[in-house]
Every structure is written in C-alpha cells, then in structure tokens.
C-alpha cells in the first residue's frame, strides 16, 4: 500500500446566512458565554443541509458536513459536484484560507493552492518584479524563483514586455504570466481549481497540457476541482462527488462521473405548474421522454416531448411551440403546432400535445427546452418558459463522432455517401 499524504477527518463547515447585524453580536455573546461556562456551542446543533433552492428555517447552514477522504502520494484526485455542493469551501479549507468548523485535515506535505492566477499582481510593477512577488505569495523563496526565472518568462511568452509595468499588458498577457508562475511551483500537494484554464484557446491547451505534465509526468499529488468532465477524465485517477456538502460518492473516475451526471439530471427532466387557476390559460406541464432513464437520450432514437396546456375557454388561434437549446442557449430546433392544423383549446380543459422527433441527430451534450404558448389572434403571449427540462444526448450505439460538438450543431439524415474505387495501382 502506498503511503497516505493527506487525510481529511470529519470536515464540516458551518456558515451563517443573512446579514451581519446586531443579532450576530447577540449570537456571538451567547456563543462566548457557552464557551466560558464550558458548554458546547449551541449553534452547532441547529444547522441545516445546504440546499440552495429550498428555504430553510435555520439561519445556519452546513456548507460541508462530515467529509472524509484520504489521498495517496502521487494520486490525482478529482473533486466534482454541482454549484454550491461545497467544492470551493473544501478548497478554501485545504488551502488554509479558512478553517473548518469541526474536524481536521492532516498532511505530510506542503500544500500550494491555485484558486486564482495572478493573486497579488501589482499593476505598477514590471513583469519581472511581479514574478517574484507572485511567486513568493504562492510560497516560493527568492532563490527558488531565481532558479526558474528564465523558464517562467519563456513559458509565458512575454519576453519582450518583461520589464514593462503590468498595467500596460493586455489581459491575456497578464494571465499568461500569472499562469507561468503558478505552473512552476513545486509543492508536495497541489490544489487546482479548474477556472485556472483561462485565456485564448491556444493557451488553454497549453495550460491543461502543463497540468497533465504536473500530475502525470512529475508524479505530483494533485487535488483537481472541475465542472469539466473531459478534463477530469483525462487528468484524474480517482474522484469524489460532493452533493449538498456531503460526500456522496467516492471511487473510480468513470463511476464517479456517471454518478454525478445522473445526479444532475434527475431533478429537472419535468416541468410542472401546479397552479389551481381556472380563469387564465397556462402551460400545465412539459415532459421530455428520453430513450434511456434519467434524461439521457440515445443519438438517432425518437425523442418525444409532451406538453400539457390548460385553456380557460375558447382561444381564437392558440399556438404552442418549443425550441431545443444547446448548452450555449442557442436554439437548434424549432417546432410549432397551430390550432388550424390540429384543433385544440377550443373549450375549457386540459390538452396534451405530443411531439415526436424521429431519429433525432443532435450531437452529444446537454440540451434544454424553451416552450411558448400564445394566441396568434390577439398576439398575446400566454406563457413563456425558458431553459426547462434539461436532457442529454449520448452516442454509444454507433461509431464515435470524430469531431468536436462545437464545429456543427445538427447532423442531417438525408445525405448519402458512396465510395468508389477508381484505380488499382499495381
């Protein structure tokens, strides 16, 4: 068994919601009184799980609750989770920016964290001066920086401007210089936030490549936090998934990513409006029927969209339409049904409209719906739902795509390829 370099035991972090006000002072006084009289902190018992979308009763939430994990030397651990799952809080605790409410982290190596590049850059100082300052902030000694100075400058590609104040730099150059300093750190344990990979496409590739070198080639222990599953897949050897501040999954990269994606999807597949209103028309529900469970749809299968609308009475020219959006909120498909085509909403009642897209050929990735319900006669927009019902398209049945999802958005079905052999060279 290889040795354990970092060990987190029962890490919890409590935050107080709301504003700092006079009640904060009174809570502080109560807390202090309990401490003086030797009792436990009363506010540690009342925290609630950190679920951003539900309104709780308590002023205190647990951003992290009982997190346990171990990291072995040379391992690259990915930490994934939704927004607000506690990733950043965990990073902050690991990098000693804030301390946990309970529990402890033990480490055998020095931890350096890159939560942001260019921390402490001073615009009035030259690039070279800033290399020294930034390096020292990140924990290097002057001697260490001196040894790597040339390497850092050439990696950044800012040789020409190195003795010019940083305020004259373009923002891209500033990022390059900052990342170059960060990439030449040599701590025992490196904590990296994914947001690091900024700048133009070329530099992003360089940055990810350097991260790969650090974690793979140099055998460094790395904790990597990301939303980018491709990056996690290529960099990490093991992942933990955080959910509402708790450690929801720990295991291999493949299983972890699958767990995380299913977790993400399960909630938002259906839109339901439970309004009891009987005077106004509205969209009652929208449902995406996918080929697999949990909102995952196989490429080239039929996709079904079910929209239920409530009509309070006769509508002159009701129209229902929907759009399928990609992850950049770009509408790719627009479908529309009019009363003149199939009669609906002519009297009070609930109508179910089912739309089927045959053999849908969307590229792999996440998609959402926009749904519109309108009256074409009065031009009144009755109901407008944006970015609901997310689902994901996957492709495991056929051959892989061989191109990036960003290079084309929709593949048409009716092109035919024919291959002829014209000549035999003997």
């Amino acid at each position: 068994m290889s040795d354990i370099i970092l060990k987190a035991e029962n890490i919890s972090k409590q935050y107080r919601l709301g504003l700092v006000s006079s009640s904060t002072l009174s809570h502080d006084l109560i807390r202090w009184w309990h401490k003086v009289s030797g009792k436990d902190d009363p506010f540690l018992k009342i925290g609630e799980t950190n679920d951003r979308s539900t309104v709780g009763n308590s002023d205190y939430v647990w951003a992290l609750q009982d997190i346990n994990f171990e990291v072995k030397r040379g391992e690259v651990l990915g930490i994934i989770g939704k927004n607000g799952a506690g990733k950043s809080t965990l990073l902050k605790i690991l990098s000693r920016v804030t301390s946990p409410t309970t529990g402890e982290i033990k480490t055998k190596g020095r931890i350096a964290s890159l939560l942001e590049v260019g921390t402490g850059f001073h615009p009035e100082m030259t690039g070279r001066e800033n290399i020294y300052l930034n390096g020292a902030i990140l924990g290097m000694t002057k001697k260490e920086i001196q040894q790597r100075e040339d390497e850092i400058i050439s990696f950044s590609g800012c040789q020409r401007y190195i003795d010019t104040p940083v305020k004259r730099y373009s923002s891209g150059m500033r990022v390059r210089l900052a990342f170059a300093v960060a990439a030449h750190l040599e701590p025992d344990i490196l904590v990296i936030d994914e947001v690091l990979a900024v700048g133009d496409a070329e530099f992003q590739k360089k940055a990810i490549g350097k991260m790969q070198d650090i974690s793979r080639g140099e055998g460094r222990t790395v904790l990597f936090v990301s939303h980018n599953m491709a990056a996690v897949k290529s960099l990490c050897t093991r992942v933990i998934v955080l959910k509402n501040g708790k450690n929801a999954f720990e295991g291999t990269v493949g299983e972890g990513i699958e767990y995380y994606l299913n977790e993400e999807k399960s909630r938002s597949l259906v839109y339901i409006n439970n309004s009891k209103s009987i005077n106004k028309p509205f969209v009652k529900s929208v449902k995406v029927i996918t080929s697999e469970s949990n909102g995952i749809h196989q490429f080239n299968e039929d996709l079904k969209i079910e929209i239920e609308v409530f009509s309070a009475g006769l509508l002159e020219q009701p129209a229902v339409s929907y759009q399928i959006l990609n992850r950049d909120n770009l509408p790719l498909i627009h479908e529309l049904i009019l009363n003149s085509e199939q009669e609906f909403a002519q009297s009070k009642g609930i109508y179910k409209l089912i739309s089927t897209i045959k053999n849908i050929k969307l590229y792999q990735g996440d998609y959402k719906l926009n749904v519109f319900f309108a009256d074409n006669f009065t031009k009144i927009n009755i109901n407008r739902l944006t970015e609901i019902c997310s689902f994901e398209i996957i492709n495991t049945s056929k051959r892989p795509y061989y191109w990036d999802s960003d290079t084309a958005v929709y593949k048409e079905d009716d092109t035919i390829w024919k291959v002829l052999k014209l000549n035999d060279f003997r």
Binding site: D3, V97, P100, T119, L133, K142
Partner: protein
C-alpha cells in the same frame, strides 16, 4: 510503519492554541515580507513628477503651518533656545511614523481580502511589511530633521539649548517602541473591523484626535503648568501624560533638543505598554486570521 504514518507535517483544524505562533513559518516567508516592502516603497509615488520628494514635502509644510498657527498665532512657547520649527518637526516626524503604522495596518484584512481569500501565507507578514516600509519612510524623513538640526545647532545660535550627546543612542529603541505600538493597535483594529465595521470610521478621525492628545505641537510641561493653574481639567492632563505616544515624542525631543519629560521609569512604562499592546494585537490577529474570510 504506524508511527511513521502519524508523522504529519501539519494539521488544519478548528482548534486554536492561545498563542499559536509559528516563527519558523514566518521566517520561511521572509522573502515575501521584503518583496511586500519593496512593493510598498516602489509603487507609492510611481508616475508622480516629484516622486520621493513627497516624503520631504509633507512633514516640512506641516511643520511650517504648525509653527505659524500654534506658535506665532496661539503663542504656545516651546521653550528658550529651541526654534519652534525644529520642535514641531521633531514631533511631526515621529507622529507621522506612528500614524502611518497604525493607519496602514488597521485595514490589513479588508484591504487584502482578495489575496487572503485565495492563498495562504502567515497573515502577520502583511502588517509587519507595512511597518518596515514605514520605517524606511521614517528614515528619510528623519534625514530632513537631521539636516535642519545640524543647521540650527551648528550654524546658528537659535538652538542654544540643544546639545547632542550619548543619549542619542536611545533613538533606535524609541523608533522600535513606536512601531510596536502602531503595529499592535493596528492589528487589534484590523481584526475587529472584519466583523463590525464601526471601528474603521473611528480610526480616521480618532487618529486626528489622538494627535492633539500626544504632545506633538506643544511641550508636556505646558500641560502640567496649565493643570496646576486649573485652566485644563486634571483628567485630560493625566490622559496626555500617560499616553505612551506622548512619552516617546517627549523622549525624542529630550535626546535631541534637550527639552521634554524623560525618565527611566517612564521608559520602562512605555516598554511595558507597547509590549502588551503588541502581544494582545498578535493574539487577536492570529485568532481572526483563521476565519475572517467568512465574516469580512
């Protein structure tokens, strides 16, 4: 094997020792401290025409104004054989040093929350670097004082009372104590303002008030005679006399100009007060640095 695996380098935990100071770690980050000092000094007057001349202009003009207002108009006597201008310059040079240390360190947490929120290094590096940069600034301003001192003492007869002697050797100690008080108070204030902002408003005008209670532009003897006359309430007399800053400024004027209230018992008093302030500041600062990012 088991014993080896328990050999942790350090532990991150909510528990706090009373005085949890890791001097080894601070020493490891000494390069950072000097780089911060360099940053503070180099960037202060960048892109200004007069540049470092501003170091001289500020105390000189303040002294001229003080001399006009307090000595020429209000007729405060600075004693025979002491030029009022030199008297004021001495007080202002020392006072400025204290003020810059206090104001510079009192917003450590708020001003640096960006850096502090992203990387760890011993936070105490920041206020120390402020004090060291101010020390350099003070050194330059002291040079101005020395120039005028030499001029008045050796080239004119106006400063007949002043006689440079071996007591000048106390100067480094006085500077050190002044920095310690500024640093200690600054750390206390910066820690408290992270959660409750009230104190930061107090600092700006409180420092102004404190100057009038620190015998900067009048001799302490004057206050003593006024108290004896009954024209000043006794309590304010006590406040001014036991204000450690008064003591240091008076001591500085004593060793240079030969006027002022200076005794060993007072020196001991100042040493004790400044050490206590510094330690209290350090303890509060250390307690705050662990969690301030959640409350700032």
């Amino acid at each position: 094997m088991i014993t080896k695996s328990e050999n942790w380098l350090y532990t991150i935990s909510p528990k706090q020792k009373f005085l949890d100071l890791n001097f080894k770690e601070i020493w490891r980050y000494k390069d950072l401290m000097f780089l911060f000092v360099k940053r503070n000094v180099v960037t202060l007057y960048k892109q200004t025409i007069l540049g470092p001349l501003w170091y001289f202009i500020q105390p000189l003009f303040t002294s001229v104004i003080f001399t006009l207002v307090f000595n020429n108009i209000a007729n405060i006597s600075t004693g025979d054989g002491i030029p009022s201008f030199l008297f004021n310059l001495a007080g202002i040079t020392f006072w400025n040093y204290f003020k810059e240390c206090l104001v510079g360190t009192s917003d450590t947490f708020r001003k640096n929350q960006n850096i502090f929120g992203k990387v760890y290094f011993p936070r105490v590096i920041m206020p120390i670097s402020v004090v060291v940069s101010n020390l350099i600034k003070f050194g330059i301003q002291l040079l101005v004082f020395v120039c005028f001192y030499i001029y008045f003492v050796f080239f004119t007869t106006k400063a007949s009372h002043a006689s440079p002697s071996l007591e000048l050797l106390f100067l480094p100690l006085l500077v050190f104590l002044m920095g310690l008080i500024g640093l200690g108070l600054g750390m206390i204030i910066s820690s408290m303002t992270t959660k409750y902002r009230d104190l930061s408003y107090l600092v700006t005008f409180g420092v102004q008030l404190l100057m009038y209670a620190s015998a900067v532009m009048y001799p302490l003897d004057l206050i003593k005679t006024k108290v004896a006359e009954g024209s000043i309430p006794k309590i304010s007399g006590v406040l001014i006399e036991y204000n450690p800053i008064t003591t240091i400024i008076e001591a500085f004027r004593f060793i240079t100009l030969g006027v002022g209230d200076f005794s060993f018992s007072k020196l001991i008093y100042v040493i004790v007060v400044s050490l206590v302030l510094f330690l209290v500041g350090l303890i509060i600062f250390n307690k705050t640095e662990k969690s301030f990012i959640d409350t700032v």
